[in-house]
Amino acid sequence: MKKIYLYSRYERFWHWLQMVFIFILIVTGLEVNGLYSLLGFKRAVTIHTFTGLAWLVSFFFFVFWVLTTGEWRQYVPTSKKMLQVIRFYSFGIFKGEAHPVPKRKDAKHNPLQRLSYLILAAAMLPVQMLTGFLYWRYNVWNAWKLDFLDLETVAGIHIALTFAIVCFVIIHMYMTSTGHTLTAHVKAMVTGWEDVEDDQEVFDWEKQ
């Protein structure tokens, strides 16, 4: 085992900030949607609105980071080794096989992660923010010439995506336990240093 520096400071900060935002938004959002009573409707709406706006603003920094650092390349989907990865999580993992696509500095994500993170970061989250923003500015649709929109539809998309994100979060949280120890991946996202197998080719600048 050796350690490589995989996640930069901003990247880790963004990950955990977004986690907090998404957690608050899910808890308050589901309450607004009538699933339970926790904070009270009015407070839930207020917290949801301001958290959503904060997320929206900070998301632009993430977009800037992803574009200017070239990290966007980490999200380009590939079918290479996709089947092997699916096979690994379906069977190999139970037999103690090695991961077919080990983490590397220039390839943080396996093909399955690339695809799911791309769908999440490039489609689901932006659409969620857009529908959320429109939902919030419902009263100026007319002034913005958006009166062709229908609140029930916009809200419907927002709610459907919420549950999609909830599903992602559940699976994502479970997947963090699939490293060489149960908490290895979580630690990596906290410290930035990921353990990789010794036989991996690692450049000098990656080493601890």
């Binding site: 409707f41 139970f94 103690g96 809200a155 919420t162 479970y174």
Partner: protein, 536 residues
């Protein structure tokens, strides 16, 4: 020289004015903000009457013409008109006098004196049902002069009765009668001299008692509003805004704003900042269409939800209002005598009363659609004698609270039209308890046919709830509507977060989330079992 002097004084005045403005501005900075909770606009605590008395003060007791010995109401009015020369011309054009408003065609005027009906006393039978005229603002129905005192008299005193008594005692010759006559004359004089703008009790003398008793008809108007507590009406309460009715029901040439009938009380939703000469009849007039704090979500509701919907959580909050009136049960005697209890009256039928009633809600653009005696009805179901006009697509419509009044009333099964019985007077139903003659006479007064057979049909009518505005703290909480079985369940045409709208998406979503959770757990458990003993 003179010109120079004027110029100087003009410049001086300008200078003084500038200084005053500046001082006011500086002072203003140190004054506490006038806006209260939730951006509510300030209200002047002295009340409208106090404000008006500062603007103009007339002591009517100093007018010689009011010091005469009046013997009839008409004489009093003539004295009023000797100064207020066009008051009667103006007043006779208003619905307070005509009780008429244009109907579907020229032959079918609507209104109490027209062909409109309700499910209380049903109709005035072309003003022939005299008990109805008790609330007409004349001395004797539409005959003779208008009655200025009913609205402008500041003393509570029954003038009609007083004149009857006066003329009776005057005709007698004994000393006691003469004394009585003198005393009554004195009271009449005191009443005539005490004149002002209408107070809550003036308007209330009719509007609190509509339908034949206190609180019967409207639900949001009863004599608890004469001196209301702040909890009952935040605007009208003495320790609140101390508003008189005319504070909102602004009046122009005796035309009082706020009539809700075939057309809305106000078609614009302007605030006084947009137009300070318009009637102040809507909430928006003073509160604007974004009355809450900046960015408060409540401001985003005003395009669909009327202020009244949240700010009047219940009506008839202190005194009961009638909610059910079944005419078909009328006529039963007990031991040969007429019964008169809260729940049953021989002359009127079965009643039900409720206090602190939750309104029912509907889309409403301010107009009501009321049936007339000429309309054909479908008696197989419940007939809506009046219903709100409006729908969710109409930009002028809002979700509005209503009192829905239910009951049973007579109709003609041959023609499927409503019937209007004559109720008061010697030949009226209240005296004879004979439906056939009451209906025959009533329909004859309306010049409408009656087949001779009658039956009773269940009906509903609606009354917009707009008075009894509660303090902000008592307004509805979000949950009242934003919950699966909230107050607006089934209203349609609007998406209400947290209600049962879009519930199917949530059901699928919860199912998928459970799948993800169980799948992950299953995967984890399998990993644990298979690799047990092999390390992790």
């Amino acid at each position: 020289m003179m010109k120079e002097f004027f110029m100087q004084s003009f410049v001086l005045k300008k200078h003084v004015a500038k200084t005053c403005c500046l001082m006011a501005l500086i002072m203003g900075c140190f004054l506490p903000p006038v806006h209260g909770e939730d951006g509510m606009k300030p209200v002047d605590k002295g009340g409208f009457a106090a404000m008006r008395s500062q603007q103009i003060k007339i002591n009517h007791s100093r007018y010689e013409i009011l010091k005469q010995d009046f013997t009839s109401g008409d004489e009093v009015t003539k004295a009023c008109l000797s100064c207020h020369t066009t008051a009667d011309e103006d007043f006779r054009k208003t619905i307070h006098w005509t009780w008429l408003t244009p109907g579907p065609d020229a032959e079918t005027p609507m209104g109490k004196a027209g062909y409109s009906i309700n499910n209380f006393c049903i109709s005035t039978n072309n003003m022939n049902d005299k008990s109805c005229s008790a609330c007409h603002a004349g001395w004797n129905g539409k005959e003779g002069e208008i009655n200025c005192l009913v609205c402008h008299g500041q003393k509570e005193f029954n003038m009609t009765e007083a004149f009857d008594d006066l003329n009776y005692f005057k005709a007698e010759s004994d000393d006691e009668s003469r004394d009585m006559a003198q005393e009554i004359q004195g009271n009449i004089k005191k009443t005539v001299e005490d004149i002002g703008i209408p107070q809550r009790k003036n308007c209330g003398s009719c509007h609190f008692y509509g339908g034949g008793g206190n609180g019967v008809k409207h639900g949001d108007l009863d004599n608890s509003l004469a001196t209301p507590s702040k909890d009952l009406d935040v605007h009208m309460a003495g320790d609140g805004g101390n508003f008189t009715c005319t504070r909102c029901h602004t009046t122009r040439m005796h035309e009082v704003a706020g009539r809700t009938y075939t057309s809305p009380a106000s078609t614009t939703r302007k605030s006084l900042i947009d137009d300070d000469l318009m009637p102040k009849i809507t909430c928006e007039s003073c509160h604007s269409s974004s009355p809450h704090k900046i960015l408060a979500k409540m401001n985003d509701h005003t395009d669909k939800v009327a202020c009244q919907t949240c700010h009047i959580p219940a009506f008839a909050r202190e005194k009961p209002t009638k909610v059910w009136w079944d005419w078909s049960k009328a006529g039963e005697l007990k031991d040969g005598k007429k019964v008169k209890t809260e729940d049953y009256m021989t002359i009127k039928g079965e009643m039900r009363w409720e206090t602190n009633v939750k309104p029912e809600y509907d889309w409403y653009n301010g107009a009501l659609r009321t049936l007339t005696l000429k309309d054909t009805i479908d008696p197989s179901g419940i007939v809506q004698v009046s219903k709100p006009v409006g729908d969710s697509h109409d930009p002028h419509s809002r979700i509005f609270p209503f009192k829905v009044f239910r009951g049973k009333q007579p109709y003609d099964p041959k023609s499927n039209r409503f019937l209007a019985p004559l109720l008061s007077g010697n030949q009226g139903y209240w005296e004879t308890l004979d439906w056939e003659s009451a209906l025959t006479l009533g329909m004859k007064d309306m010049n409408l046919p009656f087949s001779g057979t009658w039956d009773f049909v269940e009906t509903t009518s609606v009354f917009p709830i707009t008075h009894m505005v509660a303090p902000a703290a008592n307004a509805l909480s979000c949950k009242e509507c934003h919950s699966p079985m909230g107050r607006l369940a089934g209203i349609g045409g609007v998406y209400i977060p947290g209600s049962s709208d879009n519930a199917w998406i949530s059901r699928i979503g919860v199912f998928l989330a459970m799948c993800a959770l169980l799948g992950s757990l299953g995967h984890g458990v399998l990993r644990f079992l298979v690799r047990k003993g092999k390390g992790i």
